[in-house]
Subunit: 69 residues, 12 copies
């Protein structure tokens, strides 16, 4: 097993549809600047409610990726 | 930015369908007695299992709303 | 299984006799304003000491109850 | 020492001036509907930043008060 | 109410489809060796990302079941 | 001091009488299948309330025991 | 209200009888070297099991007392 | 509500004057490289003491900002 | 860098004026019996409220100092 | 990526030599009854001290392994 | 004492040899892109096990460094 | 089993060599003023980095010892 070093960044993905969609939205954006994403870990699930009926899911997550040598 | 004061209450929404549906069920009930809900935060995700195959998702969440002045 | 919504409130029951008595005192008082209490969860156990020999147990607990539909 | 029962509610006080002012704002509002407040405990300190230079401190706190017998 | 004793085991269910599917996959496998499952509690939600676009949801959960007398 | 390896399992003992009785009930049941129990650690104290006056204490605890070599 | 400064020390009280007795044993011993104890807070409840049937409750607690000026 | 993705970075602001000044110092420096800061959350408050009378407040905080699309 | 050993004690500083003043009050008292204080870390911020308008801030903090060799 | 289900058990490895040796001792014993161990996570590092100079490192860890289908 | 601002990043260092080696590997890699590293804090110790006998230690740590003015 | 009362103090041991050496350094210093040390528990592992290549491990630990009767 290769001894890589990984970096972990924290992002918040959002979606009006659901928790998985918020995770996907966050990862899709993260890929624009991070290569070699390997895992994520959800650290918080929140949401905004407006006019008592619109919900936006907000999933905070740590995203781990391999650092180039 | 207006200096509001917010109150946070804790509820458990339940649904046999999924986690988002349990969140929605909790918020729908909360709206009956709380106006001006602004956000929620999931603090626990549990479920009951009966006869080894029926599942009820139970999502504990904090719900924040604006207090009238 | 019925999809109820539950509310959770936090109280502190106190007693000079013991931990269970402090829990009971808290629940007895809570019943005056809350119907359909279903469960409790202890979140802290403290006590006051006066003149180095009197102790009052103080049990912080979350109390969950069914919301009417 | 009298065996009171206490209730704990969670509020968010806000202020553009500072952390103590946000605590005070929260307690001032809480007093409108709660009598006999006895203590508070800060559980979170956040803030909003707008246009990169305005800050609103937001202090989440638990507020404990004596329940009448 | 009968005074049962319960045991809690920790498992990780996985699914490429979503969080609820990962929970279900974990419970389906757990039933093969555990009878009388009563509840579960999610303790972690992670995921693996491969080639920057495949995700496998991994839900860690505690599963509680009744011990026979 | 001998270098043993220990295993830790999590159980929930219940009793309508009190917290210590719930701990004892859990340990009594655990002894049926585990030899050489060495310690326990309480990780949660809950209870069920039915008809507003019956309480069953539920103590979640980790139980450690020596593994045979 | 006088602006005292308090110190907090951590002790473990033990008893074969129960949790309250372990707390009392810890406080009784603490009083030998500490004057003006004001409060305690339980931070852990453990126990030792020997020969599968003897239990010693061990309650870890923080003990707060007033520092003389 | 627009589905933004946010990034969270962790910084430590310091000041010899007070906690709010340490927060402000941290945010002022963060603005040099981060645009569109939206919120912060205090995760730790420490301080250094030298020669028994100089204090430097050190506030660790998470800072959230909007990622450009 | 010299390999010192440090000791950490926990105190509660109080002040009716504010959080920094409560920290200072705690450190001022601690210096009477502890030499070579190096750092502190806030572990809790509470307050007492009397007659609905007097507040005493109570800051619990760990204080670290160098042990003489 | 195959959708496995994993089980997690908690053990305590001990060694008078060091932390890594305690981890290894725990894993070596675990392999006797568990096949397909995949990962471990340290959840606590303790030690016993006897006669003021003998130390036994005790590392509590969660051990994850693949469940057969 | 100069009022610096520090940034904290999270990395995972890995090594097949031991925990300190994993920390060192993480810091060695971090130095390639970060100047003025001042401290680290271990936030997790895990490991991978393959074929039941190869172990790779994985140490998650926060790394703090001074931001240039 | 004798019903002792134990006290727990918190220290930080440091060493440029490794984690176990930092633990040993802390215990060696603690023995100068504490008799009958029975156990320790690591609560934090940090380190200082100077000139990008000198590391001092700093292990925060709780040390428990028997109080004389």
């Amino acid at each position: 097993m290769k001894d890589h070093v990984y970096k972990i960044v924290e992002i918040v993905g959002t979606s009006s549809e659901g928790i998985e969609q918020a995770i996907q939205a966050g990862l899709t954006r993260a890929r624009k600047s991070i290569r070699k994403i390997r895992w994520f870990e959800v650290t918080g699930t929140r949401g905004f409610v407006e006019n008592d009926d619109v919900i936006q899911y907000q999933v905070t997550m740590k995203v781990g990726f391999t650092l180039d040598e």
